[in-house]
C-alpha cells in the first residue's frame, strides 16, 4: 500500500534540510529522501556557512552545529604566475557573540542539520534515490518513485532540493539540461594541518578564528574561474573552479589546475607538510538569474542549487539554498493552514516570496555578470597580471626616475588591453554588471 505524506522532500542538502525542517516543525507529515548513504555523504561545498540564513531556521544553531572557525579576516588575491596582489580586511568586530560567517566541513555539518530534521519529526530515509515523479491523470505531481522495491510514495507536494545536477526534475521535463556555459566545475582538497600550525600560518589568535582567501587571476589558467582557501580548525580547504565550457575548450584537467595552485609560491608555504585527506569535485550553477528554471507547478517546488540559486559574484549559495528551502516550506505550511491545495496557482506564492526577499533581488542585480565574464575572459587574466607588473616596477628601487616608472606602468596597462578604449569599455561593462 502506498504511504501518503503532506510533503516529500528530495535531497538532504542545505535546501532540502531547511524545507523539511520548517515543514516538520510546523506539524506537517514530511518524508525526506536522500540518495547518499548518510545526509552529507554526497554534498560538497567550499565551505562557508552564512549564519543569518540558518539562524532564521534554527536560532540556537551555534550551540550545537559542528562549526570550524568564524571568519575574522577576508583576503582577496590577484595571482599571476609568481606573485599575488592582495587586499586584506581583518576586523575585531567579527569577533562578536553571534558571528556572521563560519567555515564548516559539510559532512559533519549536514549530518547535524539532518539530525535536526529528524528531531523535528520528519521521516528521513537515506541511501535511496528518487527515480521519478508520479503524476495523476491531470498531470499533477502526486508523489515519487524510488530505486527500492515497493509502491510509489505519495504526497500533496514534492519539494525538489536535489542539487545542481538533479535528475528527477530534468527527467520530468521541469527544467532543461545543464548548459556547460552555465555551470562551473570546482575541485577541492582538504589538507590536514594541526590546529597550532593553522593558527600560526594565518596569524590567528584563537582556535575559533579563521581566514578566507579568494583567489583570482592565474589560478584559472585563462578560464573563467576563481580559487579559494579556507581555514578550518585542523585543516585547510583549497579549491579552484572554472566554467565547464572552458574546461571543454582548453582540455585542461581540473586536478592539474589544483596542483598548479598548490605549487604557487604564495600558496605552497601555507599548506606545506599538510596531508591531503579528501579530494572532491562538484558542479556549481553559475547561470544566474536567467538560468533559473520554473520553480513551481502542480504539486511541486524547486529549491536550492536545483533552481540555480547561486550568487557567484558574492560566493553565496548555501544561504540561498537554505532561504529558498525555508520560503518554499513556509508557502506549503501556509497553504495547509488555509486548507488550500498545492496547485500551481497557489504555489506561485513561493515565487512571490522569493521576489520580495534578497534572493531574487540579488540574483537580478548580477543578471549580466555570467554572460560578461564568459565573453570577456581577459577580465580575470589580463588585469591581475598587469597589476602585478605595475607593483613590481613600483616597488623595485633602481636608477629609473619615478615619473618614467609611472609612464611605463601606464604603458604596460594600456598595452595589456590594447588601448585605453578597451580598458574604459571593460570598466563600463563591469560597472553595468554590478549595478
Amino acid at each position: 500500500m502506498s504511504q501518503h505524506f503532506d510533503a516529500i522532500v528530495v535531497g538532504a542538502g542545505p535546501a532540502g534540510n531547511a524545507a523539511a525542517y520548517v515543514m516538520a516543525k510546523a506539524g506537517l507529515s514530511v518524508l525526506q529522501i536522500e540518495r547518499g548513504e548518510t545526509a552529507g555523504a554526497k554534498n560538497v561545498q567550499g565551505a562557508i556557512l552564512y549564519a543569518d540564513a540558518l539562524e532564521r531556521i534554527i536560532p540556537e544553531f551555534r550551540d550545537e552545529a559542528p562549526l570550524e572557525r568564524h571568519v575574522v579576516e577576508q583576503r582577496v588575491w590577484l595571482l599571476d604566475e609568481r606573485s599575488h596582489t592582495g587586499m586584506h580586511y581583518r576586523s575585531d568586530a567579527f569577533n562578536e557573540d553571534r558571528p556572521n560567517r563560519y567555515t564548516i566541513l559539510r559532512a559533519p555539518f549536514d549530518q547535524w542539520f539532518a539530525s535536526k530534521v529528524r528531531e523535528a519529526g520528519a521521516v528521513q530515509i537515506t541511501d535511496t534515490t528518487v527515480t521519478g515523479l508520479v503524476r495523476d491523470d491531470d498531470n499533477r505531481v502526486i508523489g515519487v518513485e524510488t530505486d527500492r522495491d515497493g509502491a510509489p510514495l505519495l504526497a500533496d507536494v514534492v519539494v525538489l532540493g536535489e542539487g545542481v545536477n538533479g535528475l528527477v526534475g530534468r527527467r520530468a521535463g521541469l527544467r532543461p539540461e545543464l548548459d556547460p556555459a552555465h555551470v562551473a566545475l570546482a575541485v577541492k582538497e582538504t589538507i590536514f594541518l594541526s590546529e597550532e600550525v593553522v593558527q600560526e600560518r594565518f596569524n590567528l589568535e584563537g582556535e575559533d578564528d579563521g581566514v578566507v582567501i579568494e583567489l583570482m587571476g592565474d589560478v584559472s589558467a585563462g578560464m573563467v574561474g576563481t580559487g579559494f582557501l579556507y581555514t578550518n580548525r585542523e585543516s585547510i580547504s583549497l579549491g579552484v573552479g572554472c566554467l565547464l565550457a572552458n574546461f571543454q575548450e582548453t582540455q585542461i584537467p581540473a586536478y592539474v589546475l589544483l596542483d598548479r595552485l598548490k605549487a604557487h609560491p604564495s600558496v605552497a608555504p601555507l599548506i606545506r607538510d599538510g596531508e591531503t585527506r579528501e579530494y572532491v569535485a562538484h558542479l556549481i550553477p553559475e547561470g544566474g538569474y536567467d538560468a533559473i528554471p520554473r520553480l513551481a507547478g502542480d504539486g511541486w517546488l524547486v529549491v536550492g542549487d536545483a533552481g540555480q540559486f547561486v550568487n557567484s559574484a558574492h560566493r553565496e549559495g548555501s544561504n540561498l539554498a537554505m532561504t529558498t528551502g525555508r520560503l518554499a516550506a513556509e508557502t506549503v505550511v501556509a497553504l495547509k493552514h488555509e486548507g488550500l491545495a498545492c496547485s500551481a496557482a497557489h504555489l506561485a506564492r513561493y515565487r512571490q516570496a522569493l521576489e520580495q526577499s534578497f534572493v531574487m533581488k540579488d540574483m537580478r542585480k548580477y543578471r549580466r555578470l555570467p554572460g560578461i565574464l564568459h565573453n570577456n575572459k581577459h577580465l580575470l587574466t589580463t588585469y591581475p597580471r598587469a597589476i602585478s607588473q605595475a607593483m613590481q616596477s613600483f616597488l623595485r628601487v633602481d636608477d629609473v626616475d619615478k615619473r618614467a616608472k609611472e609612464r611605463r606602468m601606464l604603458g604596460q596597462f594600456r598595452q595589456a588591453r590594447g588601448g585605453w578604449r578597451h580598458i574604459f569599455m571593460d570598466a563600463l561593462k563591469m560597472a553595468r554588471a554590478w549595478r
Partner: protein
Amino acid sequence: MDAVYDQEPDPNEGAARGLNLVVCIKQVPDSAQIRVHPVTNTIMRQGVPTIINPYDLFALEEAMRLRDQYGGEVTVLSMGPPMAEEALRRALGLGADKAVLITDRRFAGADTLATSYALAAALTKLGSERPIDVVFTGKQTIDGDTAQVGPGIARRLGLEQLTYVAAIDMLDRATGEIVVRRRAEGGLQVLSSRLPCLVTVLEGVNEVRRGSIDDMLRAARAEITTWSAADAGVEDLQKCGLRGSPTVVKRVFAPTPREESAEMVAVDHKRPKQIADAVLDLIFAHQPKLEAQLEAATRREVSR
C-alpha cells in the same frame, strides 16, 4: 497481489510459530577511512563514518534468508554507545524485524570477555520471552579482528558452536537439526548439529539484500528498544566494561610504510611482448641476482 497474500500465513502467527533468530551486530568505524594521527600516533576516530561491521551483514542476510524460508523473525542485537542505534536502524532498513541496543556507561571499555558476558545476558533475556533457535554473528569485527565474541557467547549460553560457516544447507525445527558447511583448513566440512546453536558467518557467502521502501520507512520510524545493564538482566557488573576486561593494550603503533612504492608499466600501444619485456626489465633492475640465476639456468638448458 491480494491472491498471493491470501495464501500466505498471517505474519504475526508465523512469527510466533517460526524461528527466533538473533543477529549480534557491531557498529565500527569505517576502517577504510581511518587515519593515524601523524604526530601523536593515535587513531583519529573523529569524523570517521561508522558502518555495520561488514561481516555482520552476511550474518544478517543469512538469518533473513532462514526467516524468509521457514518463517519467524530476526532480531538484531548490539552493545555500544547510544549512537550505535544508527547501525540497528540501518539493519532494520535492510529487513530485520526488531532491534535491541544494550547501552550503559558500565559497558564502556569492554574487551571480548566482557562483551560476550553482556551480550549473553541480553540473549538470555530475549530467550526468556521466546526461546532462540539460532544466534548469528559475523566471523569477526574489522576493528578488533579477534573472532572471540561469537564463541564466547556460545560458551556462556551453552550453545552448539558453528564458526566460519559458508552456508546453511538445512534446518529442521521439528527435529532440532541444522546442517552447515564450514570452512576449515584444507577444505569445507559439512557439519550436522543441534539447535539452539550459534553460527558465525564468513564474508562473501551471500549477497546482502537492499531493503524495500517499506523496510526503510519502518526503520526510520522505529523505536529502538534500549536496555541498560539492569534492563538486560546483567547480574555481575564486575564482569562488564573495563573492569571485566583482562585484556590490556600495551602499545599502538602505525606500521612504517614500505620505502619502495609500486612502479607502473604504461600499456599505451605496446604489444604484449613489449609489456612483458618492460615488466621483466623492471623486476631485474630491482633483483639483479634473479636475472643472473635465470641467465645461468638458460645457458645450462641450451648447453644440454
